[in-house]
Amino acid sequence: MSAVATAGTVPSLWTLAAEPLEAPKIEYGQLSPVIIVLGVAVLGILLEAFLPRRVRYGAQLVVTALGLVSAFAAVLGLAVTGHATTKRAVVGMGALAVDGPTLFLQGTILLVGLVSVFVFAERRLEPKSQTAHVDSFAAQPAAVPGGEGEREANAAGWTTTEVYPLLLFAVGGMLLFPAANDLLTLFIALEVFSLPLYLLCALARRRRLLSQESAVKYFLLGAFSSAFLLFGAALIYGYAGTFAYSGIARVIGNADRQTTAVLAETAGSDALLLIGGALVVMGLLFKVGAVPFHMWTPDVYQGAPTPVTGFMAAATKVAAFGALLRLLYVALEGLRWDWRPVMWGVAIVTMIAGAVIAITQTDVKRLLAYSSIAHAGFLLAGVIATEGRGVSSVLFYLGAYSFVTLGAFAVITLVRDAGGEATHLSKWAGLGRRSPLLATAFSVFLLAFAGIPATSGFIGKFAVFAAAAEGGATPLVVVGVIASAIAAFFYIRVMVLMFFSEPKADGPTVAVPSVWTTSAIAIGVVVTLVLGVFPQYFLDLASQAGVFVR
């Protein structure tokens, strides 16, 4: 073969393939959470194929919940046996890192996924179809909105139980994302969790066109950002000759530079490194929803089915910040003085833009979308701080924020009128009079978003800002505090509407949920208050988990 013949003389990328392959060593134990989740997801697909329609809901629910619980148990087991601290390691041929941040975030994502399943499983809210209770997902997603097929599917009372395996695939990708220890794994994990999310966004039962539009927007912009990330990865490969974070860090640190002849011209070129690093970070900032890569957030949050929005808003942020932290602290640590000022700028713009634009919003889902942007800014302030306190503060914040977000979106699913969910703010007037309990729960979430003491949001905000101040980013703290004050305004506006405005005659009703949504909201409230009043145990967890394996 000519390729083999030339291999000895002109080294190229192809020659690598010709070398004898070692059997990859896989640490099944350390990877068990991911394996369990993806395995159960595949099982879910099989159930979808072989079970009759009427039993699918129950079966999927049980399998999904069990899968998430056992994956969480696996994470706990790993953490207890010291894989978060003393036994942290790079596994899977250097592709994944199992260490404190990974396990902390995987645990968080799994719990978020589990609570999301509760919200997904709600079947009391939509009017009952002839034969069965239905959920908030389209009866027949492939049918044209408003067409004959849709009518028939609705009349038959079909439901799309594929959402559960899709959720599991997304969770699986998210579990990989913060663990990814080389740029290719990062990209693959990104795609693994993004694709199911694009699909889930398109599955709303009501307002299907809006839902599909949001999915297309998310997909297109997401594809762009993936392309940026991939291109950036390629450029960094050109610089460092490796995808592995540790290798990149070594090259940046000038420790050893082993380059093949193909890369001889480009290797070590700072231009490649800087542009490549910027592009990869850009891809991650898109997922995080930081300004100026935030444009998709409000549309997608608004259009997607609300249970999906809640899941996406909480879990994506956790996974993406995890990946961003690892990239910045492990791979690009040597570039600290280059990325720090950029992240400063992004954090400031994100905090201010998110808080200011949110003021003008009239839709509760869009409002929370902009609020999530502002929170991404607060989190970035913690990312900029030092490793150790900075990382652990971000971990804590993510844990706190995700449950507040889940709870808030779960409340939104319950406020409905004839057209489905009533998300326009004017319709929320007087909700506090009609259903004080629900309004109080939502107020707890709003207060946590606003960072009022005795809620988890306050402790999180304090941890992040204290870390930033210690890291010498005092101006960021000041901007953050000002942005919080601006943000407080619109959270309070919603509370004013709920409690001090007269209820409208044709206002929405609050659907009486089943135990699923109720427990999701209750979990949200309890976590918010417990983390707000007795945060020490969780802060300890986060600070133990605050060190990366290199």
Binding site: R433, R434, S435, P436, L437, L447, A450, G451, I452, P453, A454, F458, I459, K461, F462, A463, F465, A466, A469, E470, T474, V477, V478, V481, I482, S484, A485, A488, F489, I492, R493, M495, V496, F499, F500, S501, E502, P535, Q536, L539, D540, S543
Partner: protein, 550 residues
């Protein structure tokens, strides 16, 4: 371990709040009695605090200290000095009267149809007790972070008390009243939240500085003051000034000090009279108290640096508040502006940095609380009879309701500091204390007294004297037994403390001396030393004033 008396004093109203809120919807009378009972029981505990407090003992007594959030160096540390003990007593004293006066304030909101979930009466009284609990905690906390938590958290129940419950009848109609009310509530919250968030930046700054210099971040007031005395802890001039400004801003909003006062007239005008009393007589005292405890205690040099500006602001508050009070047509807003003027006196006394000034300021907080409560509650009773807050809607009330008019007059005379009533003592002390260091400021402040006579007497003249022209006034009932039971003890207290101020000065003075030694100030030597003491026994600088507590 001894009985945690301070925790109990703060926890009892919190338990009361929960108990009140838990009373079933149909039993609103039970809810009221439960609330009253708990407030009286809290008063008993507060009296116990006062009794167990030894004025000649340690600076902070009844101390409790537990670890809370180790990561932030936050401890659950309580302790009272004379100032805090007296203010806790004031809070606990006023609450039963506030609840008694508010007995029917939430009745209008009761739904016509039975509604299991909407329980305005329960909520109203529960929130009052919640505010009491948080105020007591802020007075007792000697940990800056702990203080901050309650300082901020009390905004939320206050916000609902202001925005959710208004006067029965409103000249402008129910809808307009609702709008103004929610405007007032939002303004209250935004002003105070903004102040609180700026303070948050300073609180974080304090953490960074202490962890930098003491090796471990701490918020313990005693520890910081001790470390500074030992020379282990020194703030740079600029750092200290910035931190001071962050703290002072929040307290100046709360106090409120000109030009951050504009929320107070709205909040007091739109809320019911008992809630207005809660704002001005209880909650706002936290602001001036915190200036004394935290601004002077933590940042003595910066306090000295800021003194000229603060004194000017205080003088502006005194005169501006009084002038605007003269021009008010609305009784409650008049009292609000009068309060702004009085808060000017308190701040003046604190920053005059003399022992008379600071004891005067502390007594002023107590006596202003009692006198404003008396005046405002009677005004509230008057307003509830006529359904109007405008002075012009009344006239000749003293002919039909002599007791009401009489109590109103006593409350008014106390407000204008008539000798023989308690506020005279404190105002006199503040003026003397100011004059001995800043003669010009003392003279300017005296003008406030003249204006006070003007606004109080004009209001009395216009509402109570003259012919009975308005038909509504003609049928006006005099004070009911419940109303008299609320007002009479307050008036008795005003007279008692007007004659025996020593009972309080003995407790307060040692604490003031400690504060004076914190800021390293000594009283200026009088030009003409007085040989023997008058009936009002007062020993400046060293040695404790004699009192009947021994």
């Amino acid at each position: 371990m001894s009985f945690p008396l301070l925790t109990a004093t703060a926890a009892l109203p919190a338990v009361g709040a929960i108990a009140t809120a838990a009373v079933p919807a149909a039993r609103k009378r039970v809810a009221k009695w439960v609330a009253l009972l708990f407030s009286v029981a809290t008063l008993a505990l507060a009296v116990a605090v006062l009794v167990r407090f030894d004025p000649d003992g340690e600076r902070y007594q009844l101390t409790e200290s537990h670890s809370w959030i180790r990561d932030f160096g936050v401890r659950y540390e309580l302790g009272v000095d004379g100032i805090a003990a007296v203010l806790i007593a004031l809070t606990a004293l006023l609450l039963p009267f506030i609840i008694g006066a508010a007995w029917h304030d939430a009745d209008d909101l009761e739904p016509t149809r039975p509604n299991r979930r909407w329980r305005p009466t329960q909520g109203f009284f529960a929130m009052m007790l919640a505010v009491e609990a948080m105020v007591v905690m802020s007075f007792a906390a000697t940990d800056v972070f702990l203080f901050y938590v309650f300082f901020e958290a009390m905004l939320i129940p206050m916000y609902f008390l202001i925005g959710g419950f208004g006067d029965r009848a409103h000249a402008a109609g129910e809808e307009e009243a609702g709008k103004q009310r929610s405007y007032a509530a939002v303004k209250f919250l935004l002003y105070n939240l903004a102040g609180g968030l700026i303070m948050l930046a300073a609180v974080i700054g304090l953490f960074v500085v202490t962890s930098d210099q003491l090796g471990e971040g701490t918020y313990s007031l005693q520890q910081i003051v001790q470390a500074r005395a030992d020379g282990d802890f020194q703030l740079g001039t600029n750092t200290e000034r910035l931190l001071f400004l962050g703290f002072f801003f929040a307290f100046a909003v709360k106090a409120p000090l000109w030009p951050l006062h504009t929320w107070l007239p709205n909040a007091m005008g739109e809320s019911t009279a008992p809630v207005a009393v809660l704002i001005t007589a209880v909650v706002d005292k936290v602001g001036t108290f915190a200036m004394l405890r935290f601004c002077l205690g933590l940042f003595p040099e910066a306090s000295a640096w800021a003194t000229p500006v603060v004194i000017v602001l205080a003088l502006v508050s005194i005169l501006y508040g009084a002038l605007l009070a003269v021009g008010q047509r609305d009784m409650k807003r008049l009292i609000a502006y009068a309060s702004i003027s009085h808060f000017g006196f308190i701040v003046l006394g604190i920053f005059a940095m003399t022992s008379q000034g600071q004891s005067g300021a502390t007594l002023y907080m107590v006596f202003h609380g009692v006198s404003t409560a008396a005046l405002m509650l009677v005004a509230g009773f008057l307003i509830s009879r006529r359904g109007s807050r405008l002075i012009a809607d009344y006239g000749g009330v003293q002919k039909v309701a002599p007791v009401l008019a009489g109590t109103f007059l006593v409350g008014g005379l106390a407000t204008l500091s008539l000798p023989g009533l308690a506020p005279f003592i404190s105002e006199f002390l503040v003026l003397v204390g100011t004059f001995s260091r800043y003669p010009v400021a003392g003279i300017v402040a005296t003008a406030g007294i003249i204006l006070a006579a003007l606004y109080v007497l004009l209001m009395y003249q216009r509402t109570m004297t003259g012919p009975v022209e308005k038909s509504v006034v003609r049928e006006m009932p005099d004070l009911r037994p419940r109303e008299l039971a609320v007002v009479a003890p307050l008036i008795a207290l005003l007279i008692f403390f007007g004659v025996f101020p020593q009972s309080l000065t003995g407790i307060v003075n040692p604490a003031v001396e400690h504060t004076m030694s914190d800021v390293q100030k000594k009283d200026p030597k009088p030009d003409h030393p007085v040989a023997d003491k008058g009936w009002f026994d007062y020993k400046p600088v060293d040695g404790h004033a004699g009192g009947d507590h021994k």
